[in-house]
Amino acid sequence: MSGLPKRIIKETKNLILDPVPGMKTDIPDEDNLRYLSVEMEGPGNSPYQGGVFNLELYLPEDYPMEPPKIRFLTPVYHPNIDKLGRICLDVLKDHWSPAFQIRTVLLSIQQLLDTPNPDDPLLSDVAELCKSNNAEYCKIAKEWTLKYAVTKKEV
């Protein structure tokens, strides 16, 4: 634990003591504070409402100079999230700044679920549907949420 930068220690401590609303952060392995698991609630008034999505988050060696690596473990039907759960979000790529925190990133991802960006898609077919037939897209996204994100909660 002593080898970790103060920044990481401070941020993870903060996340656990003062969690982001609608999110639960855990450290599955006490020996590795760079690896976090997150449970994110789907934002209200979106097709993802009611679902709880699992994400894994890894803070690379150069963090905070480099953005954290983050992906969904729960399948999500979304134009900017692919089958492997990888997320296409500007702050995770070119627009990353060392002043951003894990907290800001998580909020941005929740925001992305609420307002997809089909103009800069990762999955072109989903983006196409999202633009041309939004109702159909919402329907499928809801189905996926029910199938993958809700059942887990009931078990």
Partner: protein, 591 residues
């Protein structure tokens, strides 16, 4: 000691003057097409030192004369830069005029950078707005700082003076852009904080000694969270510097770009990385066809075209009949900066390569590598060797190129003269016909390419060995033996032309008379190539003669080889002109 020299070339007058002791003003001017001048400058590899060593170089016809009595201060830095005669006063630039294309060649990017800075300086002189005033008037600036700022303007505009000009025009309309160009966004160190300690928002370390680890921020960024300790900024630069042309404020949200000057003050290497990356990016940017590096790998030459060549324009029918060669005599096409491809146009060539690349992969593989046996239709792959094929299935013997019976063929093992009889079988299906047609021409295209590569490998090796050998045995100078090199170079170039002429033929209407004139010219060129190629192989490889005899034979054949070289040249020119006729008549049938 003062010295002035003027030289005029093309329609520009350049005036070179120098007032200092060391005036090694060396201008290489080359009008010939094969520019093989050696680069005589001792090029220092360190860019940041080089960038600053300017000679004074004025385009006298563009010069806006500043009255000496009035307002000289407003152009202080511009004048200083123009009159700066650095220690190594060399600008190696070549200007050539061919047709309407004007272009400048530089031996390396350092000289290119210098040239663009001087061009931008001249542009700024003509501008008269708040931005340029601020840039050129600042009395706290040294010429060095001024130059760095010009570099940052160019580096964020793809190294094009025109792009900077466009930006400057926008600046007049909107003041905000001044901050986004980042030219004034210098970093400052804060050492006199009114606190005993402060927490760095990036690394969360508590900083106690502000002298040892100062806080750094952009001068005109007032967000308290956009400050970071020196260690963090150092790390930040290190991780971002290698693949960016601009570095933003560490805070992110204010979107301010940090000035090059302060990055240079921070660490000179970071600055060099930024400059290097931006130059490379400008070479590779597809929209920016005016600045390119020589397409040959390992060649550092830079080419700057003055005329805008828009080869994506469909109406652009002109073909560059003559290739451009860089200072190391690598030849390439001026418009698309690819391998020289006369007689086909850049547009059609692009279509040709698209044609090759589309379709599915395995079909492409079969298409590229096999052809059906003429009797039993089994797909046959030719791995290497001559054109004499024997089908493994039905044992039929045939020629790989014309697919005729080998017994009736006779010709040489590597070159088939019956290439013309390909379109005898007429298929009803038009698509199939087009496909077969493509397949045939593609076959020729690949075959010519292979022949060219074969010749290149074989002769380059041979002539190199031979030239050394012959100059010692016969006591002849390399100049006298140059004919052999010329001959081989012409041969390879002619093969290259044959290759691209097949690509052109694919697109053309074969019922038209010009098509037949073209193919006739093509065959004439091809037979000359084959003759010369065979001759060169003979005199180099004839194992019945001892080495010395072979060399004597080369010398004996010198007049003939020289003559053949010039015939090759003429035949190529004919073919290129004929190709242009074809293109101008718009005889395209497949689009």
């Amino acid at each position: 000691m003062s010295h002035t020299a003027s030289k005029s070339f093309g329609n520009n007058n350049f005036l070179y003057s120098s007032d200092e002791e060391n005036e090694d003003v060396e201008i290489f001017f080359d009008d010939s097409s094969d520019g093989e001048d050696e680069d005589n400058s001792d090029i220092d590899k360190n860019i940041s030192d080089k960038i600053f060593e300017f000679g004074s170089k004025n385009k006298s016809n563009n010069l806006v004369k500043v009255p000496e009595t009035s307002n000289i201060n407003s152009y202080r830095l511009i004048e200083l830069l123009k009159n700066d005669t650095g220690a190594n006063n060399i600008i190696l630039s070549h200007k050539k005029f061919k047709d309407k294309n004007e272009y400048i060649l530089f031996p390396d990017k350092e000289n290119f950078i210098k040239y663009q800075i001087i061009e931008l300086n001249l542009l700024l002189e003509k501008q008269n707005n708040d931005f340029t005033k601020k840039l050129c008037q600042d009395n706290d600036f040294s010429v060095q700082e001024y130059t760095d700022r010009l570099i940052s303007l160019l580096a964020t505009s793809f190294w094009s003076v025109y792009e900077v000009e466009k930006k400057l025009l926008c600046l007049e309309q909107s003041k905000d852009l001044i901050s986004t160009t980042g030219i004034w966004n210098d970093l400052i160190e804060i050492t006199d904080l009114q606190q005993d300690s402060m927490l760095c928002p990036i690394c969360c370390e508590n900083i106690l000694d502000f002298q040892a680890i100062p806080f750094i921020k952009i001068k005109n960024c007032d967000d308290i969270n956009h400050m970071a300790c020196k260690n963090c900024y150092s790390m930040y630069f290190k991780t971002n510097i290698s693949d960016n042309t601009e570095i933003k404020c560490i805070g992110g949200s204010c979107n301010k770009t940090i000035s090059y000057t302060s990055i240079k003050n921070f660490n000179k290497i970071y600055f060099e990385n930024l400059v290097n990356f931006s130059v490379l990016q400008s070479f590779n940017d597809f929209n920016n066809t005016n600045i390119n590096s020589c397409p040959e790998s390992d060649c550092e030459n830079v080419i700057l075209s003055k005329t805008c060549t828009d080869f994506s324009n469909k109406n652009n029918l002109s073909v560059n009949i003559e290739p451009v060669s860089c200072l190391a005599s690598h030849k390439f096409c001026l418009s698309c900066k690819k391998e020289f491809h006369s007689p086909i146009t850049c547009n059609l060539l692009k279509k040709w390569f698209n044609k090759i690349n589309d379709g599915n992969e395995s079909l492409n593989w079969v298409l590229n590598n096999t052809q059906p046996c003429p009797t039993c239709d089994v797909d046959i792959e030719k791995v290497d060797g001559c054109n004499h094929m024997k089908c493994g299935f039905c044992k039929h013997e045939f020629c790989w190129i014309c697919q005729k019976d080998w017994s009736a063929h006779g010709g040489s093992f590597y070159d088939c003269m019956n290439k013309r009889d390909i379109d005898s079988k007429k298929e009803k299906n038009i698509q199939n016909e087009s496909f077969n047609r493509f397949r045939n021409y593609y076959k020729f295209f690949i075959e010519s390419e292979n022949n060219m590569l074969l010749d290149m490998r074989l002769f380059n090796k041979l002539t190199k060995r031979k030239l050394n050998n012959m100059s010692t045995v016969f006591g002849m100078s390399f100049v006298e033996l140059e004919f052999l090199n010329d001959c081989v170079r012409e041969l390879v170039q002619a093969r290259n032309m044959i290759k691209y002429s097949f690509a052109l033929l694919y697109f053309m209407d074969q019922s038209h008379n010009l098509f037949h004139i073209f193919t006739h010219n093509q065959m004439e060129l091809l037979s000359k190539i084959d003759e010369l190629s065979d001759l060169l192989v003979d005199i180099n490889m004839d194992s019945t003669l001892p080495n010395s005899k072979r060399d004597t034979k080369v010398i004996q054949l010198k007049p003939y080889l020289i003559q053949s070289t010039s015939i090759l040249q003429k035949l190529q020119l004919n073919l290129a002109k004929c190709g242009q006729d074809l293109i101008f008549k718009k005889l395209e049938i497949f689009n």
